[in-house]
Symmetry: C2
Subunit: 250 residues, 2 copies
DNA sequence: TGCATTCTTTGATCTGGGTCAATGTGGCAA
DNA sequence: TTGCCACATTGACCCAGATCAAAGAATGCA
């Protein structure tokens, strides 16, 4: 499927020409490979809330996120929903060698994707080993992140879950924007309370309550619903219940 | 680390020479590549309960399971434990390009592993593209399995969790042993109640209770603690709460 | 043959987070 | 400027699964 797709400006922000602030498949490419990538890429933009792909859809491209945030989500027949991955700028989605999307892909903010047509991308992979290596590396990172999340889903309390999510978002958002000294961090949540709940295996009410509790306890300062200030990142990590925080998400 | 390692018989069951009942890295290898694999492989056997690797250990080999079952397990500082992967015969463990084990690897039954020394394995990978492809494929399978499990951990009830686990074990064990007609399945659980609990994000008491409940309801027949008969596999899948059961584990 | 150990089952009780319901809030459209 | 709508918070109550505790198997070993 594909819903109304907004054409993106032609001169999209540093993608394809590898001005890597987004680490992508082309991290180590030479000029000719970059040209090859350029020739098979196109941009797509989506609005917050749009579903880019439904589970089972044919997927004829692979892509990396240029800006915005998307989720990978699984839904049971009775509607129970679990988000299984968060995509931030520079994250990759799609799998060479497979042609069906295994989950719903949903934009949780306005989103710009840099897409590569799959067939030619696979051909390029065939003659450029390091792209395959990079992909394996990225997939292993995602696997580690998924397994980290399994620990969270299976064993952490609601408060720890929220703190863990905030820590991950803080890391990812902070890496994009300004850094503030002394472990202080400021960012906007790219997720609604419901989307947070779906990622954490909670209800949105519990998310809301725990957010309030963290606020009451001074772990975070909320300005509006989405804007978060973390006075001490270390303190937040303590609440998250693990210091060995892998926390790479995909 | 490495604990007491029992030397395995030299003529180990069809591994390395690719008599594939265990799909492994060498699924499509030619004679010379097989010889190369042969020259860098060795066998290790472990007893039920032994920890093969501790999280953070240097891992100088990659391996595939010949017989027996192992788990990949994460532990929080306070002891809370979550199993993040189950390894059955033919499953692969280890990651080229990385040298530390990211989880504890524990034998839950007596276990025989076919190991390949990592350095030469990576070199072989370098000059044999399809091994890398195969590895990417396997890693994507594991990722799918991990994400399937995230849905289970985040959204399924205790009964559904148990049924899902039984279904997966039944599939994997049944693929090794005889097939019984008409959806009837018979197998031995390769896990203690506690190991099941760690994989499902439950306590062992809840596992025990739900096993009793499934037995009471005729979904399974228990003979002893480990031997399970599933009169109707379809019925079991219904209890698991998903028909779209990916259920590949690793 | 007996007893010790490890794994498992079962019961009684407690509680974190779910459910149901009402109320608050901020942004936008008319 | 009002009123709507989507999102968020808060409260009251409940229940699935955790916790605490006590018996059963099954196995091995002296």
């Amino acid at each position: 499927m594909q819903m109304t797709v907004h054409e993106a400006p032609l001169s999209a922000p540093n993608c394809g020409n590898c001005q890597i602030r987004h680490r992508a498949v082309c991290a180590r490419c030479e000029t000719d490979e970059l040209e090859a990538l350029d020739s098979i890429k196109f941009y797509r933009s989506f609005e917050a809330g749009q579903t880019l792909l439904w589970s089972g859809d044919r997927m004829d491209f692979v892509a990396s996120v240029v800006s915005g945030v998307a989720t990978l989500t699984q839904v049971m027949e009775d509607g129970r929903t679990q988000t299984v991955g968060l995509l931030f700028p520079s994250d990759f989605v799609g799998r060479p060698g497979r042609d069906k999307a295994p989950y719903n892909v949903i934009a949780t903010t306005d989103l710009l994707m840099c897409c590569f047509r799959k067939k030619p991308f696979e051909e390029l992979m065939g003659r450029t080993p390091h792209i395959g290596q990079r992909l394996l590396e990225m997939t292993l990172d995602e696997l580690d992140a998924a397994r980290e999340w399994m620990l969270l889903l299976g064993r952490k309390t609601a408060r720890e879950k929220i703190a863990s999510l905030l820590a991950i978002v803080a890391r990812r958002e902070a890496s994009l924007h300004l850094k503030v000294p002394q472990g202080r961090m400021i960012f906007d949540l790219p997720l609604t309370r419901e989307a947070m709940a779906d990622y954490l295996g909670l209800t949105l009410e519990t998310v809301s309550r725990q957010m309030s509790a963290l606020k009451r306890d001074g772990i975070i300062v909320l300005e509006g619903k989405r804007h978060v200030v973390v006075p001490s990142f270390d303190r937040l990590l303590e609440e998250a219940g693990d210091d060995a925080d892998g926390g790479l998400v995909g």
